[in-house]
Symmetry: D3
Subunit: 190 residues, 6 copies
């Protein structure tokens, strides 16, 4: 199965910084997630994409790592993005230490085993994903009532927006989720 509609570049032809980033993720995960290979075809876009990703998903403080992945999985489910639901579903299971949460959030976050704070976060994220032109003061008020700071509100919106882009890239390019993701984080840790 091709990993994307666009042929990925040969690893040995990659600029050193990109080769290094790919080697690092392989070291950490045991495989190279296909989005790295697919986007490496365009080094400048690769760099910008992962810089944006890291700025929102890896920065210290604010939303927990599990909360961030929950936003990704909920909005990617609505956008019917196979790569993002499968790959970030795996990461969410691991970050939340919860084998069930990713499928629940991807199918219908309203029925998921989540806290009221997480529900408020996802309601906002989903509105950014689907009807951002209707976002207004009352949405920010609801977030504040649920305990989110203004900077966390920014983060929720920005993560939903980043994956509005990412979902469309993965869908348009038919980026295939690696087989490894499907089972990750599903098994009880012995």
């Amino acid at each position: 199965m091709p990993i994307s509609r666009f042929e990925p570049p040969k690893l040995e032809s990659l600029p050193p910084d990109i080769a290094e980033r790919i080697a690092a993720v392989q070291e950490k995960s045991g495989f190279v997630p296909n989005v790295f290979l697919a986007l490496a075809r365009r080094p400048d876009e690769f760099r910008a994409f992962f810089a944006y990703h890291d700025a929102l998903m890896e920065k210290p403080g604010g939303l927990s790592k599990a909360e961030r992945e929950m936003i990704v999985v909920a909005t990617s489910g609505l956008n019917k993005c196979q790569y993002c639901v499968v790959a970030h579903g795996a990461i969410l299971r691991i970050r939340a230490k919860n084998a069930l949460i990713a499928d629940q959030v991807a199918i219908n976050f309203r029925k998921a085993d989540i806290k009221p704070r997480e529900r408020a976060m996802l309601d906002f994220a989903v509105k950014v994903a689907e009807r951002s032109h209707e976002i207004d003061d009352s949405d920010y008020g609801t977030l504040r009532d649920a305990g989110f700071s203004d900077d966390e509100a920014w983060d929720i919106a920005a993560i939903a927006a980043l994956f509005a882009m990412s979902n469309r890239l993965a869908n348009a390019f038919s980026i295939r989720p690696n087989d490894e993701f499907y089972l990750m984080g599903r098994e009880p840790r012995g």
Copy 2:
């Protein structure tokens, strides 16, 4: 009128590379487009955003500059993003040397004074914006028939995806278009 729901940083507090970029755009345009100030609140996101933007919108070769802006205006109109329609509408008028095209494309690209090639490009871009999960081989075939290379197809999809993000950020943060944009490129050049 505030330029965004989130207070922009003071110019003198900005990291030098960001201050420099803002100075450069002010030098070129005569004013600072509000998206620069609004995003400067988050330097890492600012850098990633404009790196992505430049990689797609400013790179040499491929789609013409006017074609790229046409994609932005058509998809931003569908997403009801005031900042992007007004700001990129101005740029489109200038790049296309056409005072009417931006309003036409923003309201209903199907009735705009565009060529069949441009129509095929916008049909694809709009599908990426609205129903990317349904993109398939036949969409790429239509683009090829209209004269686009595979790399140009990537560009169309990627620009539509980037502004799927950008529209949601501008909507969620209520980024206000600068008054200067509304009239730019509308007057006949003497």
Copy 3:
């Protein structure tokens, strides 16, 4: 560029009352808006259309002229009607003495520089345009709270309804906005 999919009648062949109306608008505006020529192909429909238009848009009292045009621009934007957004956008700029308002209202009235009274008016108009079967007492109550009389509520609904028709005619017949409209009301009055 043809002004419509249907060839307009020759001016000299028009019934005198229609010729007169067209001469009057040309005298006033400096050009003949294309909707007059396009509809003149059917004299009885022309007469009924402009009688309806004048009864709602020109009658004394009630909503201000700028408010009426705001309804037209907001609902025509949602219906993606190029003629109505461009032509009535020009009239709105002039009536409201505001160079920015028309683009703002056409793209997303929720982000426009409008007063709460105008927002309530547009919320109602847009509901008539998009979901009239759900209009109920509570919508009229909201209008009353915003200061509108029952007769003004009728006017808002009727203008939104008239342009539901007008937008569909202009879209189905591909009526082209005159080039003159694009720039009208955009320049500061010296």
Copy 4:
């Protein structure tokens, strides 16, 4: 039950031309359809509305009377307009001399006992009602292939557009269909 949210005028207070029109319809039908009373509150709008209605629905030649009513019933069903479906359903049954056709067309014209020509007509009318911004050459080509002249295409579009207005007025004003309409044209003629 009130015939409309807005109180209708007293019959004796009506301008003579409107009183006369109402007397004529009562003479012909045996009762006064409520839309006449509801709109009589605004004489100028009443005159324009019925002038438009007559120009499209009563003019000689072109589409048959039954075809015109079919357009009204199909589009009014989609717009969920109780007054228009019930009242024009009755007229359609009478004009088409068919007791079943109105309910079939109102619920789902695709399953109605209609000819291919009528199906092509309704497909076009429904596109005008729901997605007029997507109407293009190919829609007119399909109509031509089904035997419609360009002037008949205009009529189909204009009737669908007129009832886009009419449906919204009846919905927004809660105009109630007269009880008499429900049974009209349903019984076999002895």
Copy 5:
């Protein structure tokens, strides 16, 4: 006219229990509703379908028979199911002893002559039909406030769900409503 896209079985070839059920309905109604013949092609599915139907629509206690039919007509109208609207519209007129109610509910239940209790019931039923994934505690709370027990809430949801199935079968198989249904219950009882 065929009663369905799939040829119905010959009556003499039917299993005895099914033949008996069909004879009983013919005895009671004076004709065999086409859904019985259409589904008899598959005896096991026929038995399951009518067992489900009877369990919800015929059981003693709880919602009135007229209320149950109202749910069927409202949701079948939204699903554009010709068979179900026409056939159950007839039953609703008879059960409610009201010649007007079925058309009103099918076209737009919000404008029908119904009580607040019935409106709450239909709001819930329609949400089950159209957006069941958004049903939550507040919907059940609203039903309780309108006087419905939890078991009646189950019934409303289950009837809406049963006809979600039934509407899709009738639409996919083009099951034709018998001519007899159209006039049933419309005439004043002498």
Copy 6:
């Protein structure tokens, strides 16, 4: 966590046939899927539901068992039914002996690793689920071209319709998928 909004009956209070069915599924699966307990609250509905289910999902011949489950998973994903996607996703993995297929089909069947025959089957099933009123001859023609008999076309439609009901019941009653389903069929068989 409750298995449903409605309290399930005590096992010892169940009618013998229902108790037996539940014992059988527990014997076979090692646990009792929650839908059995949730529906047992209503014995007649339970019997009808599983009779219908078995008639379509367990009968010999025609569509393969894996194909039938694929229809369930694809349509349940669109209806955002957590119970049905998780439970039938497990069954699909087992029936298809494929650890990846269920997530792929649930998220976006257009990107799943399926054959053209399966794609045609799912396109039809999804149309039944979402727009059954538009099903016509051409849909059956496409199925025939893909190798399906008329009776298999009935099966596809009927399965999609049955789960249109089932999804709405599970959503409205908040039936919770058993934890056991999430991991079933995901691990390589040693």
